[in-house]
């Protein structure tokens, strides 16, 4: 489409900060891929892993899961999953893990593969798969692996659990000292923690703008803008970016620019996005004048702020990294969903039953029942996968979405 033919309405509706995010992420990955030349260390870390100590030690954090999302969005997931199956891995495994394990051997994916890690950091707070996945990569790359084992919190965080996890943070700092060849920078961690908390609060504020009717952005936009709080949490660039994004959202509210032009129906999304179909899903819902105004996935990156103690950052990390959305009982998850339904005043609930992610998908039927009972709003379950397109049947999904929207 030539410049002359660009729809002015559509242009007005585009979020301006997007370009800046792309630049920041490009610079970040270039930095990571040239680390060897610049003498910096690279650590691969799980999405729920404690990144602030890495930042404090000047280690560049790299996220195979974020890379997995990029692989999904670039529609390269199927080839990599097939490669992993040829290597002997079961088709039923998490597609992030499959894609990454295969990718490492062929330097596949949209950016020519991730830079070789100097160390691996794995927290089991999101699932148990990461444990085996990171052990595989530790063997493959022959690098040290640190595991943060976080006990499951059905409803509460016991004192035993707190002490158990806190002790591991001391082991973590020792691990980093050995890996970086210098003493752990406790003062720096305090500052990074403060910056991380500020970033999380700003991200929450950005998401909160969607309580406005109509919402200035949708969950599909949030899936994109999430990248910084995930990968560069604790860095000033993240705080600066979300400040600007928040200002843009407030401006859009002022100028009455919404994500969906005639927002008539407000929906809540559950689970990791279907990365290779975000545009199609967004357009599909928009065709019914429906906007996904909130989701449980992006809000997970600012939900732990209530457990963070700025003055005692290191100590409070034990709780803030254990009590995350995927590490709590289904009753607690349901409570959180009901709160979001009320806060964003949604009319319906869309749940992605993600084949890859058992901690996120197990219990969805129970949460669905609770939502139907407690709020009486229509719900729909879409069975698919976040990265493996072989598990997505467009016609069937379309029928489910159409039927659901006909209920609203």
């Amino acid at each position: 489409m030539s410049e002359k033919n660009k729809d002015p309405e559509k242009e007005k509706r585009k979020i301006k900060s997007v370009k800046q995010m792309k630049d920041i992420m490009t610079a970040y990955y270039i930095d990571a891929k040239t680390a060897e030349e610049t003498g910096k260390k690279v650590a691969w870390i799980t999405s729920g892993g404690p990144v602030e100590p890495l930042i404090a030690m000047d280690v560049i954090p790299v996220y195979p899961e974020n890379h997995g999302a990029m692989i999904g969005a670039s529609k390269m997931g199927v080839d990599l999953c097939e490669k992993a199956e040829e290597m002997g891995y079961s088709r039923d495994l998490c597609s992030y893990a499959m894609a990454d394990i295969a990718c490492a051997t062929v330097n596949g994916g949209p950016i020519g593969g991730l830079p070789k890690p100097d160390m691996l950091v794995c927290s089991t707070n999101i699932c148990g798969t990461v444990l085996k996945w990171y052990e595989i990569q530790a063997r493959y790359f022959q690098v040290p692996l640190f595991i943060l084992d976080t006990p499951f919190c059905h409803t509460e965080f016991s004192e035993e659990a707190r002490q158990y996890v806190r002790k591991q943070f001391d082991e973590y700092t020792q691990f980093l000292e050995a890996g970086c060849g210098k003493s752990f920078e406790y003062d720096r961690l305090q500052a990074v923690g403060k910056c991380s908390l500020e970033g999380q609060r700003l991200w929450q504020a950005v998401l909160d703008t969607c309580t406005h009717k109509p919402a200035p952005m949708s969950a599909f936009d949030a899936f994109f803008h999430l990248a910084l709080i995930v990968t560069l949490r604790g860095k000033q660039v993240t705080v600066d970016y979300y400040e600007a994004l928040l200002a843009e959202m407030n401006q859009r509210i002022n100028d009455q620019i919404s994500a969906v032009p005639n927002e008539r129906i407000r929906l809540l999304w559950d689970n990791i996005p279907v990365w290779y179909r975000t545009r199609w899903l967004s357009d599909k819902f928009a065709s019914f004048n429906a906007c996904l105004v909130a989701d449980t996935y992006t809000s997970a990156w600012c939900a732990a702020t209530k457990y963070i103690d700025e003055a005692n950052y290191l100590d409070s990390m034990a709780e803030s990294y254990t009590r995350i959305y995927l590490n709590i009982g289904v009753d607690e998850m349901a409570k959180s969903v009901l709160q979001m339904i009320d806060k964003y005043d949604v009319d319906g609930f869309v749940m992605h039953s993600n084949r890859s992610c058992k901690p996120y998908s197990l219990g969805q039927y129970d949460i669905q029942t609770i939502v139907q009972k407690e709020r009486g709003i229509p719900t729909v379950i879409l069975e698919a996968d976040m990265v493996d397109e072989r598990k997505f049947s467009q016609s069937q999904i379309e029928t489910r979405i159409d039927a659901f929207m006909e209920m609203l």
């Binding site: 229509p378 069975e383 049947s393 069937q396 029928t399 489910r400 039927a403 006909e406 209920m407």
Partner: protein, 251 residues
């Protein structure tokens, strides 16, 4: 006011004509490869029969998997909404619909106005659908129309444990070679489908009265198997197979 509903399914295309809330006629034909052509064919058939033309019609509504291929339709609506509407039209006391079609099965819960409250679909696997029965009829070399009466004569339904239609076919062939009676095998097939469908029905908290729609409702043996598993009577209308088209016409 005259409206026409077109339901383009995987195995058959259906048309229904409704005039002032009265069902005038229905038509069923095989879908074949070209769903647009099949839709046109059933549409022409009902218009010819009633000696009507397109401009006599208020609206044409299309449903079914092929709904987006019906170029002459004014609107498209999913078969979930249509089956609920159709069932409600036939019997306003109905609160749940079990629809077993050619390539999927669904359970729909509706309210007193025929509006859909919740639904569940088996759209991943043929083992709970009409396709499964077709495959089995071929394997047993029995006319599918006889399946119902045959299974009602069974003394001891065979157990068919395969999850998958294709593997279930192999299982049936080995039952035949072991000398198992055909009625028992057919009853076992019906029971296997019933087990899958009822499990889905319970998930949606199925509520009586229950109506079964879709072409498979003609199979009395399968209806009996469903009733046994659900522990409840199931209503069937003569118009079961065309319920989607009827609902579409009413919308």
């Amino acid at each position: 006011m005259i409206t026409v509903g077109i339901d383009v399914g995987s195995i058959t295309a259906k048309a229904a004509v409704v005039e002032d809330d009265q069902l005038k006629t229905v038509e069923v034909q095989p879908s074949g490869y070209d769903s647009q052509k099949a839709a046109g064919s059933v549409f022409d058939a009902v218009l010819d029969r009633l000696k009507m033309k397109r401009d006599h019609l208020q609206a044409v509504v299309a449903t079914g998997y092929g709904r987006r291929n019906v170029s002459f339709a004014d609107r498209v609506v999913t078969e979930i909404t249509c089956h609920a509407k159709g069932a409600h039209f036939i019997d306003a006391t109905i609160r749940s619909v079990i629809d077993i079609g050619g390539q999927d099965s669904k359970v729909i819960r509706l309210n007193e106005n025929g509006k859909v409250l919740d639904f569940a679909m088996n759209d991943k696997c043929a083992a709970g659908t009409g396709r499964f029965l077709e495959v089995m009829a071929r394997a047993l070399e029995i006319d599918l129309a006889r399946f119902g009466s045959m299974s009602l004569q069974a003394k001891a339904p065979a157990s068919i444990s395969s999850m998958c239609t294709v593997f279930a076919e192999s299982e049936v062939i080995s039952l035949i070679s072991r000398g198992e009676r055909r009625e028992n095998i057919v009853a076992g097939i019906h029971d296997a489908i019933a087990a899958r469908v009822v499990s889905m029905a319970k998930r949606v908290k199925i509520e009586a009265p229950v109506m079964m729609t879709g072409g498979v409702a003609k199979n009395s043996g399968l209806v009996r198997a469903l009733e046994n598993r659900l522990n409840h009577k199931i209503c069937i209308a003569d118009t079961a197979q065309t319920m989607g088209a009827i609902g579409a016409a009413l919308l």
